[in-house]
């Protein structure tokens, strides 16, 4: 408690954390339910005969059960790459925290859903076409100017030639 600026605010536990805690709690409570008392009570005759052995068997039972369960959980986490997915999902949820409206969900109709997926590509294509069209129009405008100038030049040459012709007649 105390300190310079007070204790740091604890972030809400992430999914990975909750997952681990929930599994641990399950095991704890299960072992608590299957207590040694209960075990010895069920195996009363044997317990009376061999109390230390009963204790030893029980301990091994609990230990082995916990190990197997923890291993299974780890396998599920590894196979599904859950650690990474949990952290990733936590981030995604955090980013959407200020948003209240329900988000988009697949409609179940592929033709409908694919439209939006294609739109960004179409928009890119459209802006590309607009650009090259403009460039082409500009290019043609310049060439058209040259063509008109060329026609003028030819007319001019023809006139000069006519003038020379007349001079020789």
């Amino acid at each position: 408690a105390g300190g310079d600026g007070g204790p740091p605010v604890e972030a809400a536990p992430g999914r990975a954390q909750v997952f681990a805690t929930v599994v641990d709690t399950f095991l704890e409570k299960l072992v608590a339910a299957g207590s040694y008392q209960r075990f010895a009570n069920c195996y009363r005759c044997f317990y009376k005969l061999q109390p230390e052995v009963t204790r030893s068997i029980y301990d091994q039972f609990v230990s082995q059960l916990q190990t197997s369960i923890k291993e299974e959980i780890q396998e599920v986490k590894d196979e599904g790459n859950l650690e990474v997915l949990f952290n990733s999902l936590d981030k995604i949820v955090e980013e959407a925290k200020n948003r209240e409206e329900p988000a988009w969900r697949p409609s179940g109709i592929p033709e409908e859903d694919i439209r939006s997926a294609m739109v960004p590509y179409l928009l890119k294509h459209r802006s590309y076409l607009r650009k090259v069209l403009k460039e082409k129009e500009e290019e043609n405008r310049k060439v058209a100017e040259s063509v008109l100038a060329g026609r003028d030049r030819i007319a001019e040459l023809q006139q000069l030639i006519q003038a020379r012709k007349h001079a020789w007649q």
Binding site: L30, C42, F46, L85, I92, A96, L122, V143, G150, W168
Partner: protein, 210 residues
């Protein structure tokens, strides 16, 4: 009660959360049963070391069943609670969250008509571009033709200039005028010749008649 298929979660995780829970449940349950069998067989083995005792395997089996039943009840209850928490808090995607790969659908909610309009616009732009491209080709073709024509015309001009230079070099500056005079005179001569021919024809005819 409708079952939530958790399809969106399945899209993210690559498995359906409920399936995952089921797999885990079955695995845990199997371990529990396995452990109990091991416990039972160990106890039975220990009993073999006590030939005089009155405990029968049947009693041991009864004890095992009793303990297992008890464990199973608690196991089911505890697992059910765990499953609920996991499905609600861990293996779920809140309603207000859209996955990054689906962001486009919120950014570009195009209706069928809007989409069609966009496609039409693109088609039109493509046509316009094609038209501009062929117009450009035609213009460039004319430019090439013009070059050839200009070259020819300039050659002719040069030829005329050549003539002028020859005249100047040989000091006959009114060669042009005399040439022009000549061409006019030869034209006049031709006209006169024609006249004379016609007149002589008339005279001959007149003579014949006489």
């Amino acid at each position: 009660m409708s079952v939530n298929p958790m399809a969106y979660e399945a899209q993210f995780f690559g498995f359906t959360p409920q399936t995952c829970m089921l797999r885990v449940y079955i695995a845990f349950q199997d371990y529990l049963f396995e452990m109990m069998l091991v416990v039972e067989s160990v106890i039975l083995k220990k009993l073999d070391g006590f030939p005089g005792c009155k405990i029968s395997p049947f009693q041991i089996r009864k004890s095992t069943e009793k303990f297992l039943l008890f464990m199973k009840e608690h196991f089911d209850k505890l697992f059910s609670k765990m499953e609920e928490v996991l499905l609600q808090l861990v293996l779920n995607i809140p309603k207000n969250v859209v996955l990054p790969e689906d962001k486009v659908h919120e950014q570009y909610p195009y209706t069928k008509e809007q989409f069609q309009a966009l496609q039409d616009e693109i088609r039109q732009l493509q046509q316009q571009y094609r038209a501009e491209a062929s117009a450009g080709q035609a213009l460039r073709a004319e430019l090439e033709e013009q070059k050839a024509v200009q070259a020819e015309l300039e050659k002719i001009l040069q030829w005329f200039d050549g003539l002028d230079n020859i005249c100047r070099e040989h000091g006959t500056s009114n060669f042009k005028e005399s040439f022009a005079f000549l061409t006019q005179n030869s034209k006049k001569l031709q006209d006169v010749l024609k006249d004379v021919e016609e007149k002589s024809k008339k005279i001959k005819k007149h003579d014949q008649l006489l």
